[in-house]
Subunit: 304 residues, 3 copies
């Protein structure tokens, strides 16, 4: 879990994913020689802060978004949301501006729906602040801010260890409506003919999806994957004997919706462990669900 802990501590609000990109690139370059297959690494001009790893002869791509929810400093100490973080008095925040590093707390006046920062000086307008990670593990659980979606990235890197044929896309901007999946999809479809995707992201504990019952395969959220692709995945999941749960929601979205909206004929399915305390500093996931997530991805990337 050391890798996950490190990633939860990296500053990478949506739109400013450079540090996560560097971390992942370093990690890949350090470890790829130990992996079953060495990937081709595609990044740089024309890919903004995204990374594509291509293993062997790919037929399916994993998408894991690197960005997190955050807050932007507006005027008069007000904070506005980047994506959909929860607000609560005293949530710990950090960042950096022209005057140096910042560690501060959120202030939410009683009855207010607005958030402010408490700090001993004014913070530069437009500065991004993220939750401070308090990474906790127990026998069963891991807990921190930003398991959504550092855990999705962690999962992709674990799958990479044994992946022989497949693509991993580390994407940006997911928390704010997307903007990178279009060109990532375009590239892998046009270059490799790949049009099957798995969305490596974290979902919600609900009445139908519980801690420790296995990775969630989302049958739908706001977006609805093509049923024939979904059925193929569920059949493989059953065959694998890896624990999984079926999710049915009518809200929420992911990089899957961005693929759906792109002018390329992608099939996609969201598969991920579920967390509670969504979009807070206390996101919590069962360790067995993480294991099941990685196991199922390995199985599917081989069979799809």
């Amino acid at each position: 879990m050391e890798l996950l802990k490190q990633m939860c501590n990296i500053f990478a609000p949506a739109g400013d994913e450079g540090k996560m990109k560097s971390f992942i690139l370093d990690y890949v370059n350090t470890h790829k020689k130990e992996w079953k297959a060495e990937p081709k690494i595609i990044e740089g001009d024309g890919f903004q802060d995204c990374i594509i790893l291509v293993f062997g002869k790919p037929t399916t791509a994993i998408f894991a978004h690197m960005d997190s929810i955050a807050f932007t400093v507006k005027y008069d100490r007000e904070l506005v949301k980047v994506g959909g973080p929860r607000i609560k008095h005293n949530y710990p925040l950090w960042g950096e501006d022209s005057q140096g590093p910042i560690e501060c707390e959120m202030s939410v006046p009683e009855g207010s729906k607005k958030a402010y920062y408490k700090f001993d000086r004014e913070i530069d307008r437009g500065t991004q602040l993220v939750f401070k990670s308090d990474f906790r593990t127990s026998d069963d659980f891991v807990q921190s801010c930003y398991l959504d979606n550092r855990l999705g990235c962690y999962n992709a890197l674990k799958v990479a260890e044994t992946l022989e044929n497949g693509i991993i896309c580390f994407s940006c901007y997911e928390e704010t409506g997307g903007g990178s999946v279009g060109y990532l999809g375009k590239y892998i479809y046009e270059t490799y003919g790949v049009r099957q995707a798995l969305i490596s992201d974290i979902t919600w504990i609900t009445d139908g999806v519980k801690h420790g019952k296995g990775v969630a395969i989302s049958m739908r959220d706001r977006g609805i994957p093509r049923r024939s692709y979904l059925n193929k995945i569920i059949a493989l999941a059953k065959e694998s004997n890896i624990p999984f749960q079926l999710e049915v929601e009518d809200a929420g979205g992911s990089d899957g919706n961005q693929l759906q909206a792109s002018p390329y004929p992608f099939d996609w399915c969201f598969i991920g462990a579920a967390e509670d305390n969504v979009h807070t500093p206390d996101e919590k996931v069962h360790k067995n669900d993480i294991q099941a997530m990685t196991d199922l991805y390995k199985y599917l990337m081989e069979k799809l």
Copy 2:
């Protein structure tokens, strides 16, 4: 109307259009020899469950979506919407799950905005249920669920009988925000240079659009077509002497919005008969408006 009746009975909720695709392909292959021109049929890999028919040297494309609104079985017998169906106690539903065919009814507790199913066993999580078609005709009207948009598909197949130059695209996912029109538009623009579209879909009876007064040409809904293209269509419609009505709405959308959002320079216009009891099992359209719809499409596909 036998063809329309058959199509209203086909199970094809958004995301699961395979059965409509098969039906239309069979129909086209059976009847194309009787048509004025035989189309090239484009489908399969890279087109998901969509079909493109290309006749002669095309300049304009008809888009007709094959999918319907529906419901997904969530947890504890709850139903969540696929698109925007109305809910009402006792609406008849059907579908199929791992235990076999399902015919059941909707339950809406008094005062509730949630819908459930009533059935003598539990239905598999994630199962799609659609309205059961009670297809009714009178001298003037046809009535059933899913006239939106089996009637748009029916219209396209009627136009196909005499079409010499043009394209017909049968699309997917329209009821849930799209996802196929992007790649359909890309293909026909890049392959045939086609950038004019007519949206063969069903609109609403309103204060301005009445039963039996002709096919509706939509001057706008949530989306706004380019005025120069709209003017050309209205001028041709006047010249044709086919009965039509002009629609002006500020809500509602169609595959036209998806073409507008695509990175291809499509002109589009929604032209379709109007129904009342929208998105219920009792959608109702005047037969003369259906005839006017087909007549106008034939005229426009020749002149545009």
Copy 3:
């Protein structure tokens, strides 16, 4: 300001930008010989009513939308909005229908959220009406409807005078959610490899952005530009000594959002003077902010 005054008087609601296109094309053809570099003009088939000007070897593109908010005549004298114009009793409107030119006023019954027109005859269904321009200048201010975004177009034409390398895109449909930026972006990215954009548009006077304090560089609105690009722009703006203000909002959008949503890896930043009385006939901008806007664009187009 004569040029700006002329442009505020041109009828060009979203979807019907033909007259603005003609005006700008005429202006460019008349003046391009006096400019430092003569641009290549790209328009016509495949570009709808848009215009692209290409100067030298471009690395950055300016996007200025030509369309305006407006109203469409619905049924029973009701007006529905094109984009988000404000409504108020007696606002002056103009347009044209089959019976000739129209000058009329808006009627908003007390307590109503609906708008109607007052005119001595019925106006054709679907007719577009725009605000009548009452163009006013004082020592410090310019005031009219449609400074958003005739001022953005004006700025682009002023920058054109000395531009040696760069692209200017005059776009359509911005006020109604876009539809041209996708293919404009596609063209300039595929043809020239350009993936840096500046959005020449008008923003709002707020608690953080004041009249006469310089052009606003938007650090975010509903859309969030990539931080590394934003930082580069702010650093150049500081270096330039041209007055500017930093904006941070969580609502509002622009052609930047459309570029973000396109399947091309564009960096974009909204830079524009701020107005009050947004989306009314009385939009008001400080002349110094206009000057700063043009100065900063000239500087950035050279340095980016």
